[in-house]
Symmetry: C2
Subunit: 222 residues, 2 copies
């Protein structure tokens, strides 16, 4: 592992923190993780490092904060360009496509998933349909390729795969199966999960489910 | 002007299209503009080039579509790196800060402005306060620098200055003055407007105001 002064303000179940950990693993970069107590109280360092959003993840590179997960992954790939594995495409057009899909995922997936676990009855049916529509668009972008960028695991894969760590919970609350609705997307998920960088940071789906059950209680959905 | 095959699917009053035009002017790149009839009906080319959002701007570079305005400006800077004026900082950390603030502007300004022209009474007062709070955060990022990136007009300036083309309308509907609320931000606006790349694409503020009056009527605010 390369010697760098990298510190991650982290939260075990956050798919956004997972992205950063996957990118660091892909790059072979060691880092210190500081687990935040998001329900109890955020650290002073978090509030100071991300005054605008006050959210994890924050990556501190020799003390300098980088915030917003897609942005952090982009930074890691650019800053540590000499390490193994390049995440972003080499041409400007390929990078513009990668940024587009990362932004699409950022705008859509988490909110659509939240709409599933926060709703019941007819509202849940609409939320489920919306969620599957979004996945089908992503599946369209994947096409028949192994990964979003082509033959190699790259930027969009890092951004998207982390979100699937909550899919088991969405499937349980929404009573649907991604495998059935979007078989190519599901095959891609399984392909990514074979990578050490991904499997190594994925929490147990049952623990994620229990966490979402707690969130539902906090939001009085039960 | 350099010879490139660049075509912009455009709309005269869109601050997002303005960004692309400013970036192309900064780079000294000639392009063809195709004005879209957004109220009457979008062109087949627009629907085909941006199937996900079906929105302007779209930049076609030798026929290949690039979409989402911040992404297009980023692409222009990377693709035409050999032309005059570099918009993005040269270091990975500087670029991560530029992406962060561009994203902040994208997430906040247009919606906060829309909340002003779409509301009345107490709701309008809340919208105005939110809008000014956002501008103050941006003003904080600007600090005492001439431009967001430092001494030179750059990426975040392109992203932000285009949004100010609607500020006259927001000020009229909200009955406030940016000059009074955020004097440093206002001074930055005036500084940017001295640039040919910016002044050349800015529509007449009165015409923007009339356009917003029409939008208000369409949304039955009057």
């Amino acid at each position: 592992m390369a010697k760098e002064d990298l510190r991650l303000l982290d939260f075990w179940v956050s798919p956004f923190c997972m992205r950063v950990k996957i990118a660091l693993a892909e790059k072979g970069l060691a880092f210190d993780s500081q687990e935040e107590d998001l329900l109890g109280g955020k650290s002073e360092l978090l509030l100071k490092s991300n005054p605008i959003y006050q959210k994890v993840p924050v990556l501190l590179d020799s003390g300098k904060p980088i915030v917003e997960s897609s942005n952090i992954v982009y930074y890691i790939d650019e800053k540590f360009a000499n390490t193994k594995n390049t995440l972003l495409p080499s041409c400007a057009y390929g990078r513009s496509r990668a940024r587009f899909w990362a932004d699409f995922i950022d705008k859509k997936i988490y909110e659509a998933g939240m709409a599933i676990w926060r709703s019941k009855g007819e509202e849940l049916e609409i939320a489920k349909k919306d969620f599957i529509d979004i996945l089908k668009k992503l599946e369209g972008a994947l096409g028949d390729k192994d990964y979003f960028g082509g033959d190699n695991f790259g930027y969009v894969d890092v951004i998207a795969i982390s979100m699937t760590s909550w899919f088991h919970a969405y499937e349980k609350f929404g009573r649907f199966k991604v495998e059935k609705e979007c078989p190519k997307f599901d095959a891609w998920t399984k392909r990514c999960l074979k990578r050490e960088s991904v499997a190594g940071v994925f929490p147990d789906p049952k623990k994620v489910y229990e966490f979402v059950v707690m969130l539902r209680k906090m939001h009085a959905v039960e």
